[in-house]
Amino acid sequence: MDESLTLHFTVPPDDFTRAGEASSSTKATLKQLGLPADVIRRVSIVMYEGEINMVIHANGGEITVTISPDQITMVLKDAGPGIPDIQQAMQAGWSTASGAARDLGFGAGMGLPNMKKCADTLDIDSTVGVGTTVTAVVRL
């Protein structure tokens, strides 16, 4: 792991205006490393969707991004309500977002499906009442 760069971000709860900061910051770093545009785009989408999920559902959380020459690993960890049925959550259009989030244009039920589409692997480890950890990998 000596060959890797690690970035940490704290996603604040209930602040839609700040969702996207971690994604933008990561994108800026990846561009500086000269990674292919497609890889950067996929990482950005996974990060952004993950951040929005944390804001809408989980009172914020922590994101750790590990960048190595062959892959980018994103670990998104929250202490939110957990996902009771992961299969259902992965379905396009399924959402438990609040009315307030929907009023802002979020909660279309595309977050996790979009992340899955963009990541090479996506693992969700969730316990109801404890929290959720999403681990996404984008390979170079």
Binding site: K31, S44, I45, P69
Partner: protein
Amino acid sequence: MEKFFHSVYLDDSLCRGCINCIKRCPTRAIRVRNGKARIINEFCIDCGECVRTCSYHAKKLHRDTLDILNQFDYTVALPAPSLYLQYNNLTDVNIVLTALLQLGFDDVYEVAAAAELVSAATRTYVREHQDAWPLISTACPCVVRLIRVRFPSLVEHLLPLKPPVEVAAELARRRAIERTGLPADRIGIIFLSPCPAKVTYAKEPLGIQKSQLDGVLAIQDIYPLLLGRMKQVRDNPRALSAAGRVGVGWGISGGESNGMGSDRYLAADGIENVIRVLEELEDDRLTGLQFIELDACDGGCVGGVLNVENPFVARAKLQQLNQRLSARPAPPPPEAPASIAWDAPVKYEPVFRLGSSVAEGISMARRVEALTEEFPGLDCGCCGAPSCHALAEDIVRGQASKSYCIHILRDHIHTLSNTCAGLVAEAAAQGGEYSQERLQELAGQLDQLDTEITMMDVGHRPAVPPEGTDEEGGTVG
């Protein structure tokens, strides 16, 4: 011409080495080194923010003077649409155009008329290239330069059509040749520009191999010269204008989109807003759009730093002028149609890249992050870089040292003065007796103290740290 030529330059005698420009530069292209604001050519996109923001008017812009008219046998003025919007109560564009002839030009060719041709070509191109939606307007050279260095994935969305000024230049020269029979190089095509990005464009265009422009004058230089002449010709102007509302409307943000005949567009102006739109576009967060119009200046071209009038007042003037303009675009020129397509596609330039390989980049980025942690995070700019993070990057690129941070320097000065005080106290305890060795040590420490206090001065942060210093820099570390 060099690849990263710029029209902005510094008047050293006026620059005080303050931090106003480095903080406002959207691409973080300026550093204060040796007490003067230096532009990093590769990073600069000619937006003119530094010109606008410099309290001491030390940022200057290259442009031609009217003397350029003497270099040619026949000259054509190409007024930008925003020129018309500088004047109060203008009821007829022909007054401005006739005054330009009085000023010494042999002919005028409105950029606004060419803009209507570009609008038509854009409509066709957008309709036929659904795969490239949304297409991003390339009329603002500053936006094209920004995308070229910062948004690699958006390069393929650039609308590969010449800007109106280039189309106008080509048509103007062709018309001049037909009217005079002169060889092409005896005809001078001179643009009256609202912004420095167009000055750069004329010398170093993007999207085409060579611009047809022979010179660029600043609207602010021409504006006062036209005022008196406009009075003279006011009652009897020549009928020279052909452009309608669509073409003249290109001078303000949203004007180009207005010529699209579609409502699936987005128009943003002001460089920071432009960057935000491009960031969202890059992440696929803007959907359902066919066309994106981006203007680096607030309000569009009327906000260009070479204009005279406040852009919002200029917009209000357009509303008045519009009542006098035709809703129909100019008739196509009788000459053969101009070639509007690009002939030299724009390529991504990774100027901000760290390292030559991903592995090297990662190792450099790690050092940048570690260094950033050591700095106070005040982003005060006293080091000459716009932020602590930018200083960390400069250090890792070998272009600065840690001692450029005055906060780190201050802590070291404290440590040094404490050491000196300790040596003096030690001597005092021994009845004021210094050994030769101790005296030398004290002198050495005082010497360092003096060096570091001198380094607090703004003029003592060179472009490249002195040889023999590591990234810690100088005596600090």
